[in-house]
């Protein structure tokens, strides 16, 4: 059964007079305890998709024009920001590409992790979820803040009184436990460091620690290892997969790297031009890629030695998404294009159990 089910999701960005159709009628579901990868090149809309699930899209300029995101029987798109606070961090968490920008440089690590723990535990008096919190802000649906915990830090700072205990003192035990969970060496020492004193890999571990501190059911990871070294990347990916099994979290992994998906994903979705064009188990995708874009993409991965094969690349460039045209988005670049590809859009159909593709070759 599904943990989260996205149906018919459409998101546009209003930029001046133009609309960019970043996500178009997207259907996706994630089950319990599985690692789903969404793979695509730049401009395909995968980050927009990720932000919309956790309600961190900046609206405006983004606007969700259609669709539902059903999580445990709640449509997340119907929640306003206050209601979403019951989900963000506790049920659904997210980590981003640049751990450096996700951590507040002015606060020690212990303080930031402690704040994450405080949301649920609410041992401090600056609780945001209690009735004491009043907002004069307009009822806007989606947070304007990219920082997962940015809202919380700024609000809790307003209520900070000088004799209140700091988060790192209140939750000392839990913080050290979480840091041990993400295998940070010397956790009791790291607690007192500032973000700039840590390496990229350590910071990403801290981010994972904060994200998983409340044992959420879904972790969204948006290119979590792109800025890290290869050896660090391997450690982080391994950590994520181990924690997934230990805690029972599902992971939605957003990446441009098919090889990373091959290493850790259970299922994979290929995204192009705001739409999903192929979905299957990870094994099926690599043994039987159906969509010509997927096939070309696999061909573009360098493998073998010099002179053994020639990579063809993909001619042309990604669609601009200003207009939704009634044709297959990949038609202009496809090596197997047929006349009907420019006349209407292919449906996204199940070709076999667990394998869907949107291509006229299979209709």
């Amino acid at each position: 059964m599904s943990l989260i089910e996205i149906s018919n999701l459409s998101i546009i960005y209003k930029l001046g007079l133009q609309n960019i159709h970043a996500v178009q009628s997207l259907n996706l579901n994630i089950k319990k305890n599985e690692l789903v990868a969404v793979v695509g090149e730049s401009g395909c809309g995968k980050s927009t998709l990720a932000l919309s699930i956790i309600g961190l899209l900046t609206t405006p300029p983004a606007q969700i024009t259609n669709g539902k995101i059903i999580y445990k029987e709640t449509n997340l798109l119907n929640l306003d920001n206050n209601q979403f606070l019951n989900f963000r961090g506790t049920e659904i968490a997210m980590i981003f590409q640049q751990p450096m920008t996700s951590l507040n440089p002015s606060y020690k690590i212990g303080e930031q992790i402690g704040e994450a723990i405080d949301i649920k535990e609410q041992r401090s008096d600056s609780s945001i979820l209690s009735n004491k919190y009043e907002t004069n802000q307009p009822d806007f649906k989606y947070s304007k803040n990219k920082f997962l915990f940015g809202n919380l830090l700024s609000l809790s700072n307003l209520k900070r009184v000088s004799n209140r205990k700091s988060f790192s003192e209140l939750y000392k035990k839990e913080i050290v436990e979480i840091l041990k969970l993400v295998r940070i060496p010397d956790p009791s020492e790291i607690v007192n460091r500032y973000p700039h004193e840590l390496s990229g890999g350590m910071m990403q571990r801290v981010m994972i620690a904060m994200a998983l501190s409340q044992k959420p059911s879904l972790l969204i990871a948006d290119e979590p290892t792109t800025s890290l070294d290869v050896t660090t990347q391997a450690q982080i990916l391994r950590l994520m997969k181990d924690l997934m099994n230990e805690i029972g979290t599902s992971i939605l992994l957003i990446t441009h790297d098919l090889s990373i998906a091959a290493e850790i994903a259970d299922r994979i979705n290929v995204m192009y031009g705001g739409q999903l064009i192929e979905e299957s188990t990870i094994y099926d995708l690599f043994s039987k890629p159906l969509h010509p874009y997927t096939q070309s993409l696999l061909n573009c991965i360098p493998s073998g030695f010099k002179g053994e094969k020639i990579m063809k690349g993909i001619p042309g460039s990604v669609p601009l998404l200003h207009k939704i045209k009634n044709e297959c988005q990949f038609a202009g670049r496809c090596s197997k294009v047929m006349p009907k590809c420019s006349e209407s859009k292919p449906d996204y159909l199940s070709i076999s159990k667990n394998h869907k593709v949107g291509c006229f070759l299979y209709e």
Partner: protein, 337 residues
């Protein structure tokens, strides 16, 4: 047997850390950033040498030393068997017409206020004496070689895509028909499909113009795809060097083995990186550990590794590693497929 084009001999580069607040630029400090330590390598005509390593390994510093943007603290550079470590003036200009560079970030590689034709012609007009019309012809032919037609001549960089900008950078580099091109992560900032095109283009151009490449990358799969010879660097030192077959199928240095195991492969049936045993992180360049710099992460570490710096030992013909115990990795075979 093609002749040796470029040689780096015992190159060392230390950046002193200013510690004297009151008198800048007179540093009495004993702390240095040891960016590059005792690097020796060479490249022949028509060859591609891949320099592979993670952040802080010194690969970009090596590139800047070869391009003479930096002076090495110690060591000799030889080009065509001539010592070019200290050349200036006209000789330096001649060297520059033989060695060019392509950078990682396509956005900052081209002056945003200058038309493409003027960016590409800059090296030609500075380093040669051709007439204006000859230069224009050369620019057109360079752009054609990288697959860009005349309409790109008078455009500005912001009108081009990332892949197109990188092609322009390559056109600029080959416009003088140099002998050697240094490519510093030329495809890391590009989409996978664009990367494939650029790599193929580079291979094509190498055949066409008999170019030598020093290809710097952190991605060992790309290195394997494009290189004849591979140098693996770690924390400012060379840890392994050999031809691409040797290094990729029979890596002998524990770091190279870890690097290959950690690289994700497009093969879900042969998942390796989850079993990776690499621990720890790259050491700080300011206070590198004594002895072998990999000692805090190596699976085969022994006492001597903490005190004595390993020398380069030849394990096969022209395949060397910097390790005290090369026999420990004798039976490991790796495969990136």
């Amino acid at each position: 047997m093609s002749k040796t084009l470029l040689e780096l001999i015992n190159i060392v580069k230390h950046f002193p850390i200013k510690n004297n607040f009151y008198i800048p630029y007179i540093s009495t400090s004993k702390t240095f950033i040891q960016a590059v330590d005792d690097v020796t390598l060479n490249i022949s005509e028509g060859e591609t040498l891949a320099v592979v390593g993670e952040s802080g390994c010194g690969k970009t510093t090596i590139a800047r030393i070869i391009m003479k943007f930096l002076k090495p603290t110690k060591g000799i550079i030889k080009f065509n068997n001539m010592d070019v470590s200290k050349i200036k003036g006209k000789n330096l200009k001649e060297l520059r017409s033989n060695i060019q560079m392509v950078f990682q970030d396509p956005d900052s590689s081209l002056d945003p206020r200058i038309k493409i034709i003027n960016s590409v012609k800059e090296p030609i007009s500075e380093l040669t004496n051709f007439s204006k019309s000859e230069i224009k012809q050369k620019v057109i032919s360079s752009l054609k070689s990288v697959g860009l037609n005349d309409e790109f001549l008078y455009r500005y960089p912001n009108q081009l895509s990332g892949g197109q900008k990188q092609r322009v950078s390559i056109a600029r580099a080959i416009s003088l028909q140099p002998k050697l091109i240094i490519l510093d992560e030329p495809t890391s900032a590009l989409d996978v499909s664009v990367q494939a095109q650029i790599l193929e283009l580079l291979i094509d151009l190498q055949k066409k113009f008999n170019l030598s490449y020093i290809f710097i990358t952190h991605n060992i799969a790309v290195a394997q795809y494009i290189a004849d010879k591979i140098v693996v660097m770690y924390s400012g030192k060379i840890v392994e060097i050999g031809n691409v077959n040797q290094v990729m199928t029979h890596p002998r240095h524990p770091y190279t083995i870890a690097l290959i195991s950690s690289t994700p492969k497009p093969n879900p049936w042969k998942r390796k990186i989850l079993k990776t045993e690499i621990i720890g992180e790259v050491p700080s360049a300011i206070n590198p550990p004594s002895g072998c710099r990999f000692n805090n992460r190596c699976l085969y570490v022994e006492d001597i590794c903490y005190s004595k710096i390993p020398k380069m030992i030849e394990t096969d013909k022209n395949h060397l590693i910097a390790c005290h115990f090369p026999e420990k990795t004798l039976n490991i075979t790796k495969n990136l497929d």
